[in-house]
């Protein structure tokens, strides 16, 4: 049975430097949650604290409402997949996967025949049939990662924790494993947390994403939530590119140099603010009172699109936008920009 996971106000310091500051997070049974953040944001520390590998200074981790602080590592029954696999290199693939079963107290240890059938079933699950006699050194990175996952699943974990599971793999293998992990989660239904610094990975895989920065959770939400309704400037800038334009807000509109460049703001605020706009939400337009005037500084190729950099008087950085047009304006040309969507945060 999948369990729920509840993290309450975790604090952790390393030599006085805070790594986690009052982190709280609730994970529903069978949910797949990504911990996303830049390096040093505390995401791996959080994962290790949940596993019991780090002792928090304050706060609790509850499994189905039971405080895990009183449980030994063994009794937590956590499947943990390490970034660098941490396979036992002196043991075969078979023995690696069987390790958790053999380590059980004698009374709960399955019989040899059952261990064998369980390990072979797991090998099939991770698509490594016939590799049971290999040693880890004879496997590729992706294969090792799958052995590590099978080893973690062998103990029938209550919670599955993955630390940068695809971090050490090349792009192609990453993509395949990502899709495969999604399917695996659908089949096994473990409550799963995984750490990543790759936003694309997090948004594609997870039911919900927790975005960490400086030891705090900035926002937790579905991929749509965090993309469409970023709660903080950090989330906005971390999830994809964003232009930052200084504006003044009043009466539900954002003004740049007295031009109302974005109307219909729902936030009830006024005064100085920053407007965050993604490049795909900026368009070329006829000059008018609600547009942003600028001069094209550069035109670059950006995948299938062209990326325009437009210098705007009064904005600290050129505004970037994507256009599909085959005939982009030339550098130096004067253009007007219309902003379709954006997020406003008070300064």
């Amino acid at each position: 049975m999948p369990v729920s996971l509840s993290i309450e106000n975790l604090d952790k310091r390393f030599n006085g430097v805070p790594a986690l500051r009052g982190v709280s997070l609730d994970v529903a049974p069978a949910e797949l949650v990504a911990l996303l953040g830049p390096s040093g944001s505390g995401k791996t520390t959080l994962l290790r604290a949940i596993a019991g590998l780090e002792e928090p200074e304050a706060g609790r981790v509850l499994f189905d409402g039971v405080d895990s602080g009183t449980l030994s590592l063994r009794d937590r029954r956590i499947g943990f997949v390490f970034q660098h696999y941490a396979l036992f290199r002196h043991l075969t693939v078979f023995e690696n996967i069987a390790f958790g079963l053999r380590a059980r107290p004698r009374a709960q240890r399955p019989a040899e025949a059952e261990i064998r059938s369980r390990v072979l079933a797991l090998l099939e699950l991770v698509q490594l049939e016939g590799y049971d006699r290999r040693f880890p050194s004879q496997l590729s990175g992706g294969q090792r990662q799958r052995v590590a996952l099978a080893r973690a699943l062998a103990i029938e974990p209550r919670v599955l924790l993955l630390d940068e599971p695809f971090g050490a793999l090349d792009a192609k293998v990453r993509k395949d494993l990502r899709r495969w992990l999604r399917e695996l989660h659908a089949r096994t239904g473990n409550t799963t947390l995984f750490v990543t610094h790759d936003q694309e990975e997090a948004l594609e895989l997870a039911d919900r994403v927790a975005i960490l920065n400086g030891g705090r959770i900035e926002q937790v939400g579905t991929p749509d939530d965090v993309l469409d309704h970023p709660a903080t400037p950090f989330v906005c800038e971390f999830l994809g590119e964003a232009n930052r334009i200084p504006v003044t807000v009043s009466g539900g509109s954002a003004y740049f140099a007295d031009r109302p460049i974005l109307r219909g703001l729902t936030q009830n605020q006024s005064g100085c603010a920053s407007l965050f706009v993604r490049p795909q939400h900026v368009h070329l337009a006829e000059d008018g009172p609600a547009t942003l005037p600028g001069r094209v500084a550069a035109v670059r190729r950006h995948g299938a699109h062209r990326r325009l950099e437009v210098a705007v008087n009064g904005a600290p950085k050129p505004v970037e936008l994507d256009i599909a047009s085959q005939e982009p304006p030339a550098p130096g040309e004067t253009v007007a920009l219309r902003i379709a969507r954006g997020h406003v945060f008070s300064v």
Binding site: L73, F82, A86, L87, F88, G100, A103, R104
Partner: protein, 282 residues
Amino acid sequence: MSEARPFRWREPSILPGFGLAFGVLAAGLSVLILIPLAALVLKAASAGPADIVAIATAPRTIAALRLSFGAAFVAALVNAVFGLLIAWVLVRYRFPGRRFVDAAVDLPFALPTAVAGIALTALWAGNGWLGSLAASFGVKVAYTPLGVMIALIFVGLPFVVRSVQPVLADAQRDVEEASALLGATRWRTVFCVILPNVLPALLTGFTLAFARAIGEYGSVIFIAGNVPMVSEIAPLLIVIRLEQFDYAGAAVVGVLMLAASLVLLLLINALQAWSRRRLGYV
């Protein structure tokens, strides 16, 4: 049918330097090791077949060789256990005086062996600090094979500690954590996860300690008492024969030691190669 190809040295790599490096190796090995050993064998051969067999099968020779190899083996085993423990404590724990202990491990290297021998004899003689203690339990250490072993343990200890220490220090923390999370007890983690990884280094340390102990002379002769057939080691037997101007006889004992050492070291090397292969080293 494949044609017989002319013999060629295996090309080690496209980078130059093999010829020079191998030339230096061959020359150095010849001057330092092979030529002296060949001279030893030649000298031994000059004794004549009958004498060689007589010396080799003399009870005193056999007893001395048995003591030298047996005591060296036991001493190396003891060192493997305690050396591993010392290395473990030095690597894993931070305690006051750790650096001092770390440095003290090398003392048996630096100390003249005769000094070590005299100190050990004074300590373990019937009226010494530890010797009198042992005597109260009815155990006689000095002037017995036990004393030989203690001297050999002393000189061999640093080899094991220094071989194992860097490997333990390099050990990946996450492998231990993985083991604990999979439900292994601490004992299981140590014996099934950590120690197998240290095994090749431990075997190296064991081999070095063993080889050193086989040839050890200075520290042993004081504490051994050198009673023929009981506590007389093979290197001493060689010295005795030299003092009697029986150079060929000394050479015969020397060749016997050489042959036995070579066979044992080859065996241990094979064991080591096997254990390293299992860990995925090439």
